[in-house]
């Protein structure tokens, strides 16, 4: 049973290993929890899941698995009919037997029961809970015993337990959710780590003294990486489209940690990169900056991050004069190539849902232009993008 459960959890892409499964089995063996699905939920989560980002996936896996268990209980074919009949008759009083006759005999009743259960099963799968049909069902009137199908006992437990994981209270912590105000802190942390990498070395005084002492007084110099950051970033934002809100958010995200980077510069463009960019969006038509000038000003070790949906007509990238705003002598891809050739590391963050990327040819073209370094604007995407930049 636990192996199936374990597989289900892994199916939902919660990273857990055999070692943890063994731990869980050991925990059950030692009697940390006993016969309570709520407690089992807590303990299995404690042991199998190691990051709150995976809690939501785990909740879904758990709900899925235990829904399965609940519907097995409902499977009538597994209960021998004869036994059920006898069991019935044993438990029913004479008066009740008369009532059954009025309903068309036990066979008929069984049929109805099967139908009813099927119906409930269906409704259950549609998202409603199948418990609590209340007094309206004829079976309720006969005090239908839960031992046969275990409706009563199991269901109430099921309902109480579901609350915990069906609430899905950790949804916002999932790494695949778009970056918004809720998970902005996590994103900031990722960026801060990014800002602090790649630093050069300085003299480590304490270690030098210790090493020298070990060396019986002969000087032994030790170096250590500098604590401050050395990352320099150029950002290009696509502004003036349907994704403006997302892009604004991303811009705020980066400006919030402005101080952490050694250099951080913002530029804006529209749809695709052409010969000009601008720094201040409100005066975009007056204060243009030559892209060539940008290329000449900043050294090639600057990390370049594009933020945009890259959703446009393909001709806007591939043809001269393709721009929707002005006449461009050279095509967008020429300019993109110039930039990607010059800078060592370039990535593109795309707020567009990743599942839809294949349907836009412009996204494919752009993705190829940035050497397949396009990432969705989610926590996971941001993490992968940052990894590609370092």
């Amino acid at each position: 049973m636990l192996i199936d459960f374990f597989c289900k959890v892994r199916d939902y892409k919660v990273p857990c290993t055999l070692r943890e499964l063994l731990d869980l089995i050991r925990a059950l063996e030692q009697g940390v929890v006993f016969a309570s699905i709520d407690d089992f939920y807590s303990v299995s989560r404690t042991i199998l899941v190691k990051d709150e980002a995976h809690f939501d996936k785990f909740d879904r896996a758990f709900a899925d698995y235990f829904k399965g268990v609940a519907s097995i209980d409902l499977d009538l074919s597994e209960i021998p009919e004869d036994w059920l009949k006898k069991h019935f008759e044993k438990q029913l009083s004479a008066e009740e037997k008369a009532k059954i006759k009025a309903l068309g005999g036990l066979d008929k009743l069984m049929e109805t029961l099967a139908e009813r259960l099927k119906e409930q099963e269906k409704r259950h799968q549609g998202g409603n809970k199948w418990i609590g049909t209340g007094g309206t069902s004829p079976f309720g009137a006969y005090g239908y015993n839960p031992e046969g199908v275990r409706i009563g006992q199991d269901s109430s437990r099921h309902r109480r337990a579901t609350k915990v994981w069906d609430k899905r209270q950790f949804k916002n912590l999932d790494a695949n959710v778009e970056i918004g105000t809720r998970n902005i802190k996590v994103a900031l942390r990722k960026l801060r780590q990014f800002a602090r990498t790649g630093s050069s070395e300085e003299l480590a005084l304490d270690e030098t003294i210790a090493a020298t002492a070990r060396n019986a007084g002969y000087l032994d110099i030790k170096m250590k990486p500098q604590r401050h950051n050395a990352i320099k970033v150029l950002m290009f934002f696509d502004i003036g489209g349907s994704m403006d809100d997302h892009i604004k958010e991303c811009e705020q995200l980066f400006s919030a940690i402005h101080g952490e980077f050694k250099h951080l510069e913002f530029f804006y463009f529209h749809n695709c990169l052409y010969e000009n960019v601008w720094r201040d969006n409100s005066r975009r038509h007056n204060e243009k900056i030559d892209l060539l000038q940008v290329l000449h000003t900043y050294s090639r070790d600057y990390k370049v991050i594009f933020v945009g949906d890259a959703t446009m007509g393909p001709y806007e990238i591939t043809y001269p004069g393709g721009s929707v705003e002005h006449w461009n002598e050279e095509a967008g891809d020429v300019w993109m190539k110039r930039l990607t050739d010059y800078f060592d590391k370039v990535i593109w963050l795309n707020p567009q849902n990743e599942a839809q990327w294949p349907y836009y040819s412009s996204i494919n073209i752009m993705n190829r232009l940035v050497d397949n370094k396009m990432y969705p604007l989610t926590l996971e995407g941001l993490g992968a993008g940052i990894k590609a930049l370092i």
Partner: protein
Amino acid sequence: MNAFQGTSNYIASNELQLAVNAAITLERPLLIKGEPGTGKTMLAEELAASLGVELIPWHIKSTTKAQQGLYEYDAVSRLRDSQLGDEKVKNIGNYIIKGKLWHAFTSDNRPVLLIDEIDKADIEFPNDLLLELDKMEFFVYETQEKIVAKQRPIIIITSNNEKELPDAFLRRCFFHYINFPEKSDMQAIVDVHFPKIKQKLLDEALALFFELRDVPGLKKKPSTSELIDWLKLLLAEDISPETLHETRQNKVIPPLHGALLKNEQDVHLFEKLAFMHRGQR
């Protein structure tokens, strides 16, 4: 060993109790995460108190090395002693300084070892502790002796999520995320800290507190520890529930807000909102 059920001044949720007890039974380190101020560090203190054993806290800083938890070899004083011709210098054992893990391993009662804010340290820090936490033993090269734990200490590790921890390390831990308490749990927590607080004052204060937490755009939301501090101040200043009620009605900034809002921008934001609210009326 008895199961942990929280203490007279620490309310532990059912899930947390289970996590702690699983970690104690299976002798695995327990990694605790959660918003700052939800009582991560306090858990270890209270756990030690409730079990009546020693707490060995190890507070991690950005410069802490894993080796410091095991032992340190004080080569500098040995060099100095050798120049002074001290007799001590012959025995290298005199210059081995025991670390927190060593203490925990050799302690007579099974102690609680708190590794506080492990994410502050270098990324290699958790990796360097893998074997020690797994096998509960390490080797002192200078004296060629092997230190093996008499019994596996109960290890509580806290993290504020500033760095991601390596997978291999996580695999060896159990994990619990302390959720921010709901209003009813909060009531229980406050009751534990202020048994004599007036119900009316508490109701108003809690309502105000949760409203404040819901203000969008706050840089640092106040958490449990801030609430406790604030209540302490409210009681000390003898502020009446009516005053609190009025502040809530008029959406002005609450009295003694310094305990709740720790950020200048947050205070400004709140004042601005209060001003807008007044303008609307």
